[in-house]
C-alpha cells in the first residue's frame, strides 16, 4: 500500500465512522423534509448576526425534530451568506425557492436587504419570516406591505417607546434636562434616536436636545465625539450604537470619565455579545434589553437560555430569540392547518398566539402574530441599570403592552399608515 492509498483509506474510514456517530437515530423520515432557506450575513463585521441567528433557528428545528418533526416531516434549514449585499440577498432568496425548492424563507438580514427580500416574497408568493429587520416601516407601511412577509423581530417603535418612558422617569427623578445623542449615521440610528426623543419629550417636556452626533457605522475611534461631550457637559445622552461599536465607545468613554459626568442611555448594551466583550461591565449605565436570560424572568426563558447553552456553549443573543420565535410561528402555523401550503399557513399564522421564551409576563408569556399587519407583539422589553456581575442589569422597568400598543397606534395614525 502506498502512502497515498493509506491516507485515502484512512480518510474514507474516518468519514464512514463519523457518519455513523452523527446519525444515532437512524430513523428514516417517511416524507420529504420541510425545507427552510435562511438568508443572512455570515461574514465580516456582523457575522454574528447570521451565526447566532442560525443557532436560534436550528435549536427550534432540533426540538421539533426530536419530537418527530412537524406533520411527520423533518425540519431542515439551509443557509447562505449575503455578505450584507442587497442584490446577493435577493439572488439567494430566489435560488432557495427556484433551485432548492424550499417551503419557506427566513430572512435574517439588515433592513436594507429585508426590504428587497420582501419583494421576492411578494413576487414568488412564498412565506418569508423576517427575523432581524427592526425598522417599523417593514410591516407598517401599507405601500410595501405583503401578506407573505411576516415579522418575528423587535420593532423599533416598541423599543423606543419603552426607552422614552424609562428615560423620562429617570430624567425627572434626577433633573436630567440637557441631552445629547450619539448614534450611527444610517437609517436605524436616526430612526431610533428620533423616536426616542419624541417619547422622552412627550413624557418629560423639560428635556432639551443640546447636540446630536452621528459617527459613521463601525467608526473605530470616538475620541472627538467624547471630548465634544466632555466640553459641552450634557446631563445625559442617548445612543443607538450597537455591537462592537458600543463596546469600543464604552471603553474609550471610560478613559475620559464621561459616564461620571453624563448619564448614558444606550438601547443596545444588554446583549451577551456586548456584555461579554466588555472586560468589565461598568456600573450605572442605562440600557435596554436586547437579550437577557432574566428578561422576561420566566421559566420558559431560562430554559431557552439553558438549552442554548447546552447545545452551543454560549448564551443566546437578541438574534437567537428572534429566529427561535420565528420558527415557532411557522411550525405552529403548519401544525394548525396540517399543511405547508402558503395561503393556508399565512391564514393560520394570522393572530396566532404562542407561549414562547420571549413572551412578556404582562401578556402571560405569549407572543402574538398580529393579524392586522403580520408583525409580532408581546415580546419582553425592559430597561434597567447595569451592574458588573450577573444578571448585569438591575431595577428592571417594563411598560405594559397595552401602553406600548396605544403609543404605536398613535404613531401609525400620525404617519397616515393606520386609519
Amino acid at each position: 500500500m502506498t502512502r497515498r492509498d493509506f491516507l485515502k483509506t484512512t480518510a474514507a474510514g474516518a468519514a464512514t465512522l463519523s457518519l455513523g456517530t452523527l446519525t444515532p437515530f437512524s430513523k428514516a423520515w417517511a416524507q420529504a423534509p420541510i425545507k427552510i432557506g435562511f438568508v443572512s450575513i455570515f461574514s465580516g463585521r456582523v457575522a454574528m448576526l447570521g451565526e447566532t441567528g442560525l443557532k436560534g433557528a436550528q435549536l427550534a428545528a432540533d426540538e421539533y425534530n426530536a419530537k418527530g418533526g412537524v406533520l411527520g416531516r423533518k425540519i431542515e434549514i439551509i443557509h447562505r451568506d449575503s455578505a450584507g449585499k442587497i442584490e446577493e440577498a435577493v439572488r439567494i432568496a430566489r435560488d432557495f425557492v427556484v433551485k432548492d425548492k424550499v417551503d419557506f424563507l427566513m430572512d435574517h438580514s439588515s433592513s436594507r436587504e429585508a426590504f428587497a427580500v420582501k419583494e421576492v416574497s411578494r413576487d414568488l408568493k412564498i412565506i418569508t419570516m423576517v427575523t432581524a429587520s427592526e425598522t417599523t416601516d417593514q410591516s407598517a407601511d401599507p405601500k410595501i406591505w405583503t401578506p407573505y412577509s411576516l415579522r418575528a423581530a423587535r420593532q423599533s417603535i416598541h423599543d423606543c417607546c419603552v426607552a422614552g418612558y424609562y428615560a423620562a422617569k429617570i430624567s425627572k427623578e434626577h433633573g436630567l434636562t440637557k441631552w445629547y445623542s450619539i448614534s450611527p449615521d444610517y437609517a436605524y440610528g436616526h430612526d431610533s434616536t428620533e423616536r426616542f426623543f419624541e417619547f422622552l419629550q412627550k413624557k418629560n417636556p423639560e428635556v432639551k436636545i443640546a447636540g446630536q452626533l452621528w459617527p459613521k457605522l463601525a467608526e473605530p475611534d470616538y475620541t472627538p465625539h467624547i471630548t465634544k461631550m466632555m466640553a459641552d457637559k450634557p446631563h445625559a445622552f442617548y445612543s443607538a450604537l450597537w455591537g462592537g461599536d458600543t463596546v469600543a465607545f464604552i471603553e474609550q468613554a471610560l478613559m475620559y470619565g464621561l459616564f461620571e459626568q453624563s448619564k448614558f442611555f444606550c438601547i443596545n448594551i444588554a446583549d451577551y455579545t456586548v456584555l461579554k466583550a466588555l472586560k468589565k461591565v461598568p456600573e450605572g449605565l442605562h440600557t435596554g434589553s436586547r437579550y437577557l436570560r432574566n428578561v422576561p424572568d420566566t421559566p420558559a426563558n431560562h430554559q431557552f437560555a439553558d438549552s442554548y447553552w447546552k447545545k452551543y456553549g454560549e448564551l443566546p443573543t437578541n438574534w437567537s430569540w428572534e429566529t427561535y420565535s420565528g420558527m415557532l410561528f411557522l411550525m405552529e402555523g403548519i401544525k394548525k392547518v396540517g399543511s405547508t401550503d402558503t395561503e393556508k399557513v399565512v391564514k393560520a399564522m394570522k393572530g396566532l398566539r404562542i407561549k414562547a421564551p420571549a413572551g412578556a409576563t404582562d401578556v402571560d408569556g405569549y407572543i402574538t402574530m398580529r393579524a392586522r399587519d403580520h408583525t409580532h407583539t408581546g415580546y419582553a422589553i425592559a430597561w434597567g441599570r447595569t451592574i458588573s456581575k450577573e444578571p448585569y442589569v438591575t431595577d428592571l422597568f417594563y411598560l405594559p403592552w397595552s401602553e406600548i400598543l396605544k403609543e404605536e397606534e398613535e404613531y401609525l395614525k400620525k404617519k397616515g399608515w393606520l386609519k
Binding site: 461574514s43 473605530p220 472627538p224 471630548t227 466632555m230 478613559m255 466583550a277
Partner: protein
C-alpha cells in the same frame, strides 16, 4: 444650529483646556493613523506596491495582541512581540506572494491584495471566531486621566502619542542617517543600480515590506485595547491611510506624519464647530491638497 456651533469653535480656540483636549484628541487619532499610513507609504515608495491588504495587517496586530496579552499578561512584551509577529508575517507574505507581481500591471497587485484581505478576514474568523472582541485596557492604565492645562488626557493615550512620535523620529533617522536607510532610499530610486553594486535587492524588498507590515501591526497593537476588534476591521482604517498618504505625498514619512495629524485636527476641531459634517473635513482636506499641490505636501515631483 450653525452659528451657535461656530461660536463654540471660537470659544474653544480661546480656552486652553479645550485646545489641549482637542489637540490631544487629534494626536491620538493621528498617531494610530500615522503608524499604519507610514508603512503603506514606505512600501509604496520603495517597492512601488499599493498594499491594499495593509488594513488586514493592522487587524492581525490587534488579534495577536488579544492572544498574547491573554497568554503573557504583560502588555509591554505583548506590544513588541505582536508587532514583530506582524513584521515576520509581512516578510513571508512578500517572499511568497508579493515578489511575483513587481513587474505585473497594477491590476494584479489589486487582485492579489484584495484576495488576501478576504483570506485573512476568514482566517481570523476561523481562528478567533466571528464575534467581535474587546481586549480591554491593560490594568496599568485603568486610572483617572492625567490632568494637563485644565483638560484631561487618558494615560493610555499619552502612551500612544509618545510611541507614535518616537517611531516617527526613529524611522526618519533610520532612513536618512544610517547605511541601511541609504540602501533603501537608493533601491527606491534605482534598484538596478543598487543590484549592480552587489547589494541583495530582494532582501531589501523583503526587509522593507517587513518594516511596513510591522508599522501597520504596531498600529493595530496599540489601537487594539481601545477599539473593538473583529474580522474585517482593517477596512475601517485603510481608506483613511490612503488619504494620509495622498495628503503627505506618496512615499514620504514626514508627509505621512503631518498628514495624519492634519486629519486628526480636522476631525477633532471639525466636530466642535460642525458636528453634522465632521467626517467630510478629511475629504475636503484631501481635495484641497489634490487641487493645490497634487503631489502631496512632501511629495517629490514626478521624474
Amino acid at each position: 444650529m450653525g452659528p451657535m456651533e461656530l461660536m463654540k469653535l471660537v470659544d474653544c480656540f480661546s480656552s486652553l483646556s479645550c485646545l489641549t483636549t482637542q489637540i490631544t484628541s487629534a494626536l491620538i487619532l493621528g498617531m494610530v493613523l500615522f503608524l499604519v499610513a507610514s508603512g503603506l507609504s514606505l512600501i509604496f515608495g520603495v517597492l512601488g506596491v499599493l498594499n491594499f491588504a495593509h488594513g488586514a495587517l493592522y487587524m492581525l496586530g490587534a488579534y495577536f495582541t488579544y492572544t498574547l496579552l491573554t497568554l503573557l499578561g504583560n502588555f509591554g512584551v505583548t506590544v513588541i512581540l505582536a508587532a514583530i509577529g506582524v513584521g515576520v508575517f509581512g516578510v513571508v507574505f512578500e517572499r511568497i506572494f508579493i515578489k511575483r507581481i513587481y513587474s505585473s500591471p497594477l491590476l494584479y497587485q489589486l487582485l492579489l491584495c484584495y484576495a488576501f484581505i478576504m483570506i485573512l478576514d476568514d482566517l481570523v474568523k476561523i481562528v478567533w471566531g466571528y464575534e467581535f472582541k474587546s481586549i480591554g485596557l491593560p490594568d496599568a492604565f485603568r486610572r483617572p486621566p492625567v490632568k494637563l492645562f485644565g483638560s484631561f488626557v487618558p494615560s493610555y493615550y499619552l502612551v500612544i502619542i509618545i510611541v507614535g512620535v518616537v517611531v516617527a523620529i526613529a524611522l526618519w533617522l533610520f532612513l536618512s542617517r544610517t547605511k541601511y536607510g541609504k540602501i533603501i532610499r537608493a533601491t527606491a530610486h534605482s534598484s538596478e543600480m543598487v543590484s549592480a553594486l552587489g547589494i541583495n535587492v530582494p532582501m531589501v524588498y523583503a526587509a522593507v515590506f517587513g518594516i511596513g507590515s510591522l508599522l501597520a501591526g504596531l498600529g493595530g497593537v496599540l489601537a487594539g485595547p481601545v477599539r473593538s476588534i473583529y474580522p474585517g476591521m482593517g477596512a475601517s482604517i485603510i481608506i483613511e491611510s490612503f488619504i494620509v498618504v495622498v495628503i503627505g505625498g506618496l512615499g514620504s514619512i514626514p508627509g505621512a506624519f503631518l498628514g495624519a495629524i492634519l486629519i486628526g485636527l480636522m476631525r477633532s476641531f471639525g466636530i466642535i464647530g460642525f458636528p453634522l459634517i465632521e467626517e467630510s473635513f478629511t475629504f475636503i482636506l484631501m481635495a484641497l491638497v489634490l487641487i493645490i499641490r497634487p503631489r502631496g505636501l512632501f511629495g517629490k515631483e514626478e521624474a
